[in-house]
Structure formats: C-alpha cells, structure tokens
C-alpha cells in the first residue's frame, strides 16, 4: 500500500485494528464485522510506524507481557528476536532505547505469535541496512507460507521483490488497486518506482 503523506494509510490500518473507530461504513474480517469484536485481532500481527511502549518496562517485560496476554495457544516464532540479537538487550528499559531498536521490537512482536495476517506500517523506516534486510527476508519467507501481508512504505525500490498487489491511496481514496504484473504491463516499466512515477505523471 503506497501513497503520499497524509493520504490515510495509517488511519486505514488503525481502523482495521479497531484503534480508530470509523464514522460510517463497516469493516469485515473473514466475513465478520469487526465492530464490537476483538477476537479477530488474535490473527493479526501489527507493527506500528512509531512503536510506543511503557517507559519503565524492560524489553524482557514487554515481550513476556505480550506472551502472557496472547501467547497461550499459538507456537511462538522467535526468529526475529534472535536475528536482531534482542536477547542481549532484554534488561534495558524502553525509554533508553533508540528508534531503530524500538522498531526491531515492534517487528519482533508482530511476528511473534505466527499470525495469519501481518500489518506492517513503514517497517524499514529507521532500521539499519542489515536489520532491514533481515526483516525483508522474514517478510518473504512468511509470504511464501501463504500469509497475507500488508505493507505501507515510501521506499518503492524496497517493495519490488516483496509485493504482489499494489494499492495506491491519495486523500483517503483508493486511486488504483492492481497486481504488480498488471502495473508493469500497463506502464511498460519494470521497476515499481518508475511505474508509479509514470502513473502519477499521467494524472
């Protein structure tokens, strides 16, 4: 999912998660209206754009708490916790962490409970090249398992090998929703950023 700043990407994601309540209309998840339901969130892993965590909890506390709250039924997927080497930082308090480390925790939490749907809001913003490469590999492996992954990003070159469908949003409206092959054949461009640029110029 791509679109300029303030086009409503994060708001849409927050509405899907029930963090923002819509004024009109409704959202269904597996055919059920999400309003007043909450169990559906068990199947979603969410990585926020800016992860905000209680200041005086340590990384270990946060992870334990999340496991305590929702980790009783599913198998835990700790690949990212290990890949990001968070184990050595477990005793650090959240307020002392850098933005990048917070992003790593957000990513680890999103993948931790092996959800069937992953929602990643600008996942690689703030991550160093090594970490963002780890995360991209993880996204690709999860995708190959047949999971639904929703990614928003401004870095189009990164999305090339990740995405199969492109949704372009502007001013809260969906401008187009195409598969990547369709987009390539429509615009005659191989790279996503050029294709999008051409599309925007045509408008």
């Amino acid at each position: 999912m791509i679109g300029p700043n303030a086009s409503g990407k994060t708001t849409l994601i927050k509405t899907i998660l029930g963090m923002v309540v819509q004024d009109s209309g409704f959202i269904t998840f597996n055919g059920n209206n999400i309003l007043h339901h909450w169990q559906y969130r068990e199947q979603i892993g969410y990585m926020p754009q800016i992860g905000r965590y209680p200041d005086n909890m340590t990384i270990g506390h946060v992870l334990d708490m999340m496991k305590d709250i929702r980790g009783n039924k599913v198998t835990l997927d700790e690949d990212l916790v290990e890949a990001f080497e968070l184990k050595t930082l477990m005793h650090k308090r959240m307020r002392t962490l850098s933005g990048g480390t917070r992003q790593k925790i957000s990513a680890s939490l999103a993948f931790l409970f092996s959800p069937t749907v992953l929602i990643l809001d600008e996942p690689t913003a703030g991550l160093d090249p090594v970490a963002s490469e780890i995360l991209k590999e993880k996204i690709i492996t999860e995708k190959s398992k047949g999971k639904l992954i929703l990614v928003t990003s401004h870095i189009l070159s990164e999305l090339d090998d990740l995405v199969t469908q492109v949704v372009y949003m502007q001013d809260g409206q969906i401008r187009f929703h195409k598969s990547i092959e369709e987009l390539r054949s429509d615009t005659g461009e191989e790279k996503l950023n050029k294709a999008i640029a051409q599309f925007m110029r045509k408008k």
Binding site: K14, M19, W38, P48, I69
Partner: protein
C-alpha cells in the same frame, strides 16, 4: 482481565509516589494519635486531614497515571483484548492500589488506636473516597486529550469538592436563611462524596450535637438504617456513574 490488572498493580506499587503516600499517611496518623491524649480527638483531627489528602492524591495521581500509560493502552488496544477490559483493568488496578495504600497508611493506625465503629466507618469512607476519585480522574483523563488541561481539570475538581462546594452551600444557607433548609441540605450533601463521608463519620462520633439543629436533622436521617443505606448507595453511584461514562467514552475514542 486478571493479567492486565496484575501488570497495572505491579507497576503502580513499584511507583515511589504511592509508597511516599502510604508512609505520609502512616506518619500523620500516628502523630495525630500521639499528639492528642484523647484518641477520639486524635481521630477528629485525622479526619480533617484525610478528607483533604485522600481525594487530592487519588485524583491527581490517577489522572497523571492514565496519561502516562497512554503507550501501554495503545499497545494493548491493538491486541486481542476488549477495550472495556483494558479500561476496567486500569480502573481496578488504580483503585485497588490506592485503597491498599490508604488501608496500610491510615487504616492500621486507626485500628490500633480506635478499633470501633467510628474507626471502621472512617476506613470504609477513606476507601470509598479513594475509589470515587480514581473514577472521577479517569473520566477527566478520557475526556481531555491534552495532559496539562486534564491535570488542571483534576485539580479544579478536587478544589470544587473540597472547598468550593462547601462555600456554595454556605452561600445558599445565608441567602435562604429565612426558609427551613434542613431537609434540602440532606439532598445537597448527596452531590458531594467528601461531605457525605464527613457526615457519616461525624455522626458516628457523637459530636453531631455541635452542629446544632442541622446536626440533629442529619442525625435523624443519616443515623437510621435507611440513612446509612442511602449514603452507601450514593457513594456507589459516585463510583459507578463516572466509571460507566468513562468506559463508554473510551470505547469510542480514537487512539
């Protein structure tokens, strides 16, 4: 729900402010009882301090705590949890820890020196007031997005319940001095839990004679079973209504 209450409570009980509050109450209570040679006089002095301190600490601490746990709430809302569960856990965690702090700080000294109906009434009212002001604080915090505004409103509310309300009542009494106001006064006290608590304790103390004719009317009403049930009912409403309103508001709030 239990799990979240557990996290909220461990977080609050680790907080230094709550510890200080407990120690402060403890020191005040003991010094009040040892300053006066008569323990019921000591209890009376303690009453006046408690009726000021308990609402103040409960409302300010809870308001700030709710604002500071915005991140915690945000983290939980995206998880498979009902919003109502999150909010009520926050309320139960806050009111349980503050009541606990009050019980340790003021309840134990009172039980040591005055383990009778007066003492028990005082502890009950103190716990009621702690919970009521947590409920009011949470309503303020959910209504106002801005932290500074919210804390300001909390202070104003405390000022209203502790000082301004009494001023208003006095003003009314003087304005309508020619009319018999004793009965409406009973109704009026229902609008201020602090006053209601004060009356309930004073009536147990047999100092109501000092309050003159109004005191006699109060004794006639609040001294009876119906009166006691009425005031406990009103106290419970003071908890339930703010909690209900704030939960409703929180359920529809955008985070």
């Amino acid at each position: 729900m239990k799990k979240i209450i557990k996290y909220v409570m461990t977080d609050i009980l680790r907080n230094r402010i709550v510890l200080l509050y407990t120690v402060f109450l403890f020191v005040i209570s003991f010094s009040m009882f040892s300053l006066e040679d008569n323990t019921s006089k000591g209890l009376l002095s303690l009453l006046n301090i408690i009726l000021i301190i308990v609402p103040l600490v409960s409302i300010i601490f809870s308001t700030i705590y709710v604002y500071n746990s915005a991140e915690f709430v945000e983290l939980l809302v995206s998880q498979p949890l009902k919003r109502r569960t999150i909010w009520l856990s926050l309320f139960i965690g806050l009111s349980a820890s503050l009541s606990f702090a009050f019980f340790i700080g003021a309840g134990i000294p009172v039980l040591i020196y005055q383990a009778n109906t007066v003492g028990i009434m005082m502890i009950t009212m103190g716990i009621f007031l702690s919970i009521i002001f947590v409920a009011i604080a949470m309503l303020t915090a959910v209504k106002m997005r801005d932290k500074a505004k919210g804390i300001g409103a909390a202070i104003l509310l405390w000022l209203y319940f502790s000082l301004l309300f009494d001023g208003l009542v006095l003003f009314l009494l003087f304005q309508f001095a020619d009319y018999p106001l004793e009965k409406p006064m009973i109704g009026l006290t229902a609008f201020n839990p602090v006053d209601l608590g004060r009356i309930m304790i004073l009536l147990q103390m047999d100092v109501s004679a000092l309050m003159g004719y109004t005191g006699a009317i109060f004794k006639d009403f609040f001294g009876t079973y119906t009166g006691v049930i009425f005031s406990f009912g009103v106290m419970c409403l003071w908890i339930l209504i703010p909690v209900w309103l704030s939960t409703r508001k929180f359920n529809r709030k955008d985070l």
